[in-house]
Amino acid sequence: MMRSSRRNFLKGAGAVPVAAALPALWTPRAAAQGSAAPLRLGFQVHRTGIGAVYGRWYERTTTAAVKLINEKGGIAGRPIEIVAEDDGTDPKRGAEVVEKLAVQHKVDLIFGTLFSHVVIASAPRAGELRIPYLVVSEGYHVASGRLNRYVFQPGITDVRAQVTAMAPWILKNLGKNVTLIFPDYAFGHDHRDFFSRVATAQGGTIKALVPIPPTETSFTKYFPRVPADTEVLYHVMVGPGVLTFVKEMGEHFGPRRPQIFGFVDSLEGVDLGAPGLDFLEGTYFWEAFPRYAGPATPPHVRAYRERVGVNDNGASVNDPKDISTFSHMFGCWETLFVIKRAVEQSGYKKPGPADYRAFVETLEGFSSFPEGLEHPQGAKRFVGRLHQVFAHQVISRVEKRRLNPVHRTAIEDSMYAPEADYTKQPL
């Protein structure tokens, strides 16, 4: 459970008489915990709003990672204290939360933001306040150069890298004639643009692009737009209509379907045994991190699952029907271990320009992270000029309503020509 220490709540006018009556037990938590002052990490979390389901699992993963780090002596001998603030998955509040964490709570660093529109609205404030801001959002906005020197994404790969790594395998193993079905807004457009670019460069043909309006809940009228000579149907549908989409896709194509490839983003938090998903049997999905554990699962991944409380089906140990957001939440865990490494190597002590400069430059100097309990998803390459991490990606096949990994890409498969260099921006 997240906890925070005493706030300067006396500012609240209504609290003054109450505060006067409080006994001496209100010593700050940090003082009670030991001699080393805690490292205060601001956790910008989507507790309410449309990000709440992801937020719940991001919080659980973060709590587990903090517990492990603190058990092993903390960061540079200091225990981590998480200061969680809800941003309501609201871009404007996101920027306010960044300011609140930095100015009011005086945290050392801020991390954890997920939804891209919140990241894009919050990052400029972090840049103005000159406080390191480590996001776990999967967006290309970091590596695109659109943000600023203080924003990093060291714990999860971006969508461009994921698509770049998938394209060659799809063309080689499933077919070269591809039709894309995608929601008609930025998320779908990223897939459309990045996949089309890589696929055509590698000899593939985009047979058709089928955009679906985001508010659509029935899809039968779109499937006839898939050309008959399509070998691969690439889909990235999201939202509550996904089950209906799969069901209607099955009704349209039946057994004479093309090969089908999707992104697990569509089904994060959803049981593959759920009604309506029968048609997915034998189709393929991108996963960042295999949801289902098996005999080949390495010990450090098992240890990670145990710590977070996830069983072999990717569901909560305490609530086996509660499916985790397994391909995303590891990003919080790995980001915390990157923070640990960067704080310890940079000699970071307290908020301020000199220590932040050391932190940023140290982080930019990293080039790789080894696979292990600190990086359970796998080894990483970090590109300092892009502030972005690169990783192995996984392709899984749906077999007996489970995702079974069939291929793991090399890290290099996901790398693209860099378009930005944050290290040239002033600190």
Partner: protein
């Protein structure tokens, strides 16, 4: 945008992906037909049978029930809990799911206590955090006379209008304010509300707490459908909801209050639908957050209240008594409140238990529930999603059928024959069928936010 909107997002969504797989239009039609048929059957029911059911009651003597000192004590305990929660709002965790204040206000109190009022009658009279302190203060020397003769007299024209205004503000805060669950924001709101009504009570006397305080009026209305009524030395058991048949017609402010309760909870549902967001030109899959929707949603809340009021006035024009027939809308307001908030309550009560164990974020574990695993899979596990959905549908339809019964009973009170009352109520029936369909549609359509 890189991270996508997951299927199982948000407590309100209730696995709406699974609901979309159901033939929901048949549920909507079935609900409407049930209400229409129950109306037709009611016109055949003997007025004597209704009167008989209404007079069925059992009085259980309980000497301490309604005792003033007991009420003072419970109110003071409530005040102590409220103070502790407000302190927690200021000093506890900043996380709205770890701080007890938002969880107790929005779930345990606003949702849970409503359920308890429907089951056990008017508890707020004794649980409100003002009346105990008021009695203590007004027994002290300087203001000893204030209870008998308050410094100001509560004007008759004020009716329940202050409570209506309070409900409108409350609904706006709950549904439209960017951060109603932010512990510090909420702590200030709660402290401000408490202070305003404490001052009101001291100046205008106990009548203020009965007529001007929003939740006294709200919980009072909910308790009308309860099978339990509290008297000074006894507890009375009777048929649920039939108490509505014996109530006096409401004045204009009372009518407005009931309509606003219904409008607010309906707007909470409506404002999350893809249909509403589409109307605003907003992509629900990348919902821009509450801040961006404050202006259109404020207008929408007021517009829905206005529309509902107009529809109601048109529907009851032939009965000639809007103050009486508004009582027949009370079961609908309660039913939709219970159905709409059910999934939120099921999740947040668990978080509330965790938060209560360490309210001030001091590392305590007072109740041994600090690390209680929170179960949320009923929002994404199909069998349980369907169980909740069917419970909600049943609540909505049962509430509307009850409303039909009450409307019929009220018409009979006006002294016309069953067949004639049936004709007079046709337009009210149309409103009720329309609202059944709206309620079921709101529960079945995709939502975000």
């Amino acid at each position: 945008m890189a991270v996508a909107w997951p299927l199982a997002a948000g407590a309100h969504a209730t696995g709406s992906g699974f609901i979309l797989l159901l033939p929901t239009h048949l549920y909507v039609a079935g609900g409407a037909i049930t209400v229409a048929v129950s109306f037709a059957l009611m016109t055949r029911v003997s007025p004597r049978l209704i009167a008989g059911a209404q007079s069925l009651r059992l009085s259980v003597p309980v000497p301490v029930a309604g005792h003033r000192h007991l009420g003072t004590a419970t109110s003071l305990v409530s005040l102590a809990v409220a103070v502790a929660l407000v302190v927690a709002g200021f000093v506890g965790s900043r996380d709205p799911l770890a701080n007890p204040l938002p969880l107790f206000v929005w779930s345990v109190w606003w949702i849970g206590l409503s359920y308890l009022h429907a089951g056990f009658g008017d508890l707020w009279t004794h649980l409100n955090p003002w009346s105990g302190l008021y009695r203590v203060l007004t027994s002290l020397a300087p203001v000893q006379d204030w209870r008998g003769s308050p410094p100001l007299s509560y004007p008759r024209w004020a009716g329940r209008w202050p409570a209506v205004a309070g409900l409108l503000l409350f609904a706006w805060f709950e549904l439209i304010h960017p951060a109603p669950s932010d512990p510090a924001v909420l702590a200030k709101a709660v402290a401000g509300y408490w202070l305003a009504h404490m001052v009101g009570a001291l100046l205008f006397g106990p009548r203020w707490l009965r007529r001007a305080e929003t939740f006294a009026v709200f919980f009072g209305i909910i308790s009308w459908i309860a099978p339990v009524a509290w008297h000074r030395r006894a507890i009375e058991l009777r048929m649920p909801a039939l108490r509505l048949l014996g109530l006096e017609p409401r004045e204009a402010s009372g009518v407005a209050f009931v309509l606003l309760v219904l409008a607010a909870v309906s707007f909470d549902g409506l404002s999350r639908t893809f249909a509403w967001l589409g109307l605003l030109g907003v992509n629900p899959l990348i919902h821009p957050g509450r801040t961006a929707l404050m202006a259109p949603n404020s207008l929408g809340l007021v517009a829905l209240f206005t529309l509902l009021t107009l529809a109601y006035l048109v529907a009851v024009r032939r009965t000639g008594s809007p103050g009486l027939f508004v009582l027949s809308l009370v079961p609908i307001a309660c039913g939709y409140h219970f159905a709409h908030y059910l999934p939120v309550l099921l999740v947040d009560v668990q978080y509330a238990l965790r938060a209560a164990s360490d309210p001030f974020s001091r590392g305590w574990d007072l109740l041994g529930t600090r690390d209680l695993p929170v179960v949320t899979s009923f929002l994404s596990d199909p069998s349980r999603v369907y169980a909740i959905w069917h419970t909600q549908v049943t609540l909505i339809v049962a509430a509307h059928v009850t409303s039909v019964v009450i409307a019929h009973g009220l018409a009979l009170r006006q002294g016309v024959s069953a067949i004639l009352t049936g004709r007079g109520q046709l337009s009210l029936l149309v409103l009720m069928i329309g609202y059944t369909m709206l309620g079921l549609w709101l529960l079945s359509t995709p939502t975000a936010g």
